[in-house]
């Protein structure tokens, strides 16, 4: 039987808006993915641990607080430390161009702005998932 692609949709940091994260979660679901949604206020180490335990293919972070420069590298480093090299790390939020470049250097595969098309996100995910 064909394995479903598993995506962890997580919301690190202290901002209390998870609408964006929920919209993305539903889009993934509708595209046939299995989404593990962990809700608000996730600490980076919780996200990494969830990614390990759920054996996900993708970690999609939604950050609107502006704290992406501190939070995302913590998640990326944690994932590396756990050996999750084949897990695709995506970030969505309001992220300036320069920051996006830095995040990609830190290990993020894709960065999506608030206006990003959901189909593009799905498409990107499908074509970049690393595990067979």
């Amino acid at each position: 039987m064909e394995r479903k692609i598993r995506v962890l949709v997580a919301k690190p940091g202290l901002d209390g808006h998870d609408r964006g994260a929920k919209v993305v979660a539903r889009a993934y679901r509708d595209a046939g993915f299995e989404v593990i949604y962990t809700g608000l206020f996730q600490r980076p180490e919780q996200i990494v641990q969830a990614a390990v335990q759920e054996d996900v293919d993708v970690v999609a972070l939604s950050i609107l607080s502006g704290a992406h420069n501190t939070l995302v590298p913590l998640v990326a480093d944690g994932m590396k430390k756990e050996g999750l090299d084949d897990v695709l790390l995506l970030v969505g939020g309001i992220i300036p161009e320069d920051d996006a470049t830095a995040l990609k250097a830190a290990g993020v595969a894709g960065v999506f702005g608030p206006g990003a098309d959901l189909d593009d996100i799905i498409e990107y995910t499908l074509s970049h998932v690393r595990r067979a």
Partner: protein, 371 residues
């Protein structure tokens, strides 16, 4: 297999991957499960079931925390019904499980209820076995208590906790669906709301009226007479509001199976109250869960269950294999569909058609005779 070596060394990533392989019926599934089999049979497997939103995940989180406090490690399987549309799913039980999740001694895995070849109960059983083999002392299985498949999931656990909330009237449907029969203990959660005591009373009454609790599953017998001698009445557990213990309930028999000489000969499901969101009543639920384990051991039911489970597994494996052997080729070459059409069109009776299939596809020369 390198994966299994890492698994045995306690690598959580290897555990997570093993679950994935087993869940998706990967070709290595039989190998993994066979290899891990000697390590299984040690965990206490506890099911948490109940209607949507009653607080199962919150309670699971609290129970995991409480178990950690008692020095036990915990595996959690959260079975979530999946979206009916695309085959995708949003699994959200983790949202309420983050207290327990911050600790290496707790491993949480979300499982979509759909898309498993052998059904969700078989997949859940396999995942539970893998967690058991990894060495977790306690494995908690959360599932929405709504349909037949959930009831089947609950058959694989040793202890079933049925969670409900004040206002039992709304839950009559669940009770009718056999929830009352499968519960080894009942928790009225959200006891911070009005009517909790009333719901406890109603449940107690139903339990006293009900017959033959558990039946084949735990082999439990429930005395039908209130206050019958020898019946264990753990009413001392009504923790939250400190409802006084009615009728001299015995001291809590202790949480570890070893200290359990006082275990009851019969198990009368206790009804407890909790406010899971505040952690109230959780220790009492844990105590009752531990008492039930003690009861299973001391009454010999644990062993009976293990045998029964093993036999069921064997039966299923052989049956699956036989079915595939006989019907696989018939399906492939269209024989099955042709015969099914003939039966549907009343050109042939189903018995003759089945006989035909068995004669034609039975492996070996020793074809089954007429019947």
């Amino acid at each position: 297999m390198e994966l299994l070596e890492r698994f045995r060394n306690g690598d959580q990533r290897a555990l997570a991957r093993a679950i994935t392989l087993v869940e998706n019926d990967h070709p290595d599934r039989p190998l993994i499960l066979a290899d891990l089999h000697p390590l299984t049979g040690r965990a206490h497997v506890v099911g948490i079931t109940g209607a949507p939103g009653v607080g199962k995940s919150t309670l699971v989180d609290q129970l995991a925390t409480e178990a950690r406090r008692r020095g036990k490690t915990v595996g959690v399987v959260a079975v979530d019904p999946s979206s009916p549309f695309s085959g995708g799913a949003v699994l959200g039980d983790r949202i309420r499980m983050e207290r327990g999740a911050s600790d290496r001694g707790v491993f949480i895995r979300s499982l979509s209820a759909r898309g498993h070849a052998g059904g969700i109960s078989a997949a859940t059983g396999d995942v539970v076995s893998v967690l058991d083999a990894f060495g977790f002392d306690l494995v908690l299985v959360e599932t929405v208590g709504a349909g037949q498949s959930e009831v089947e999931v609950m058959r694989l656990v040793h202890t079933t906790v049925v969670v409900t909330i004040p206002g039992l009237g709304d839950d009559v449907q669940a009770i009718k669906a056999g929830i009352l029969e499968i519960g080894d203990l009942f928790v009225v959660n959200k006891a911070d709301r009005d009517g909790a005591d009333r719901t406890v009373m109603e449940l107690e009454m139903m339990l006293d009226l009900g017959e033959g609790h558990g039946g084949a599953r735990t082999g439990g017998t429930r005395a039908g007479v209130p206050g019958a001698a020898g019946r264990w009445d753990p009413r001392g557990h009504h923790g939250v509001s400190g409802v006084p213990a009615a009728g001299g309930a015995p001291e809590q028999p202790g949480t570890a199976p070893e200290q359990s000489e006082t275990a009851p000969a019969h198990w009368r499901p206790p009804v407890l109250k909790s406010v899971a969101r505040e952690g109230q009543g959780v220790a009492e639920v844990m105590d009752a869960v531990a008492s039930h384990l003690t009861y299973l051991h001391n009454s010999g039911r644990w062993q009976v269950r293990q045998r029964q489970e093993a036999e069921n597994k064997l039966r299923r494996l052989v049956a699956d294999r036989l079915l595939a052997t006989v019907l696989g080729p018939a399906e492939e070459n269209g024989d099955l569909a042709r015969l099914a059409a003939a039966v549907a069109d009343r050109e042939q009776d189903p018995f003759t058609a089945a006989r035909h299939l068995l004669r034609r596809y039975w492996p070996g020369d020793d074809k089954p005779g007429p019947k």
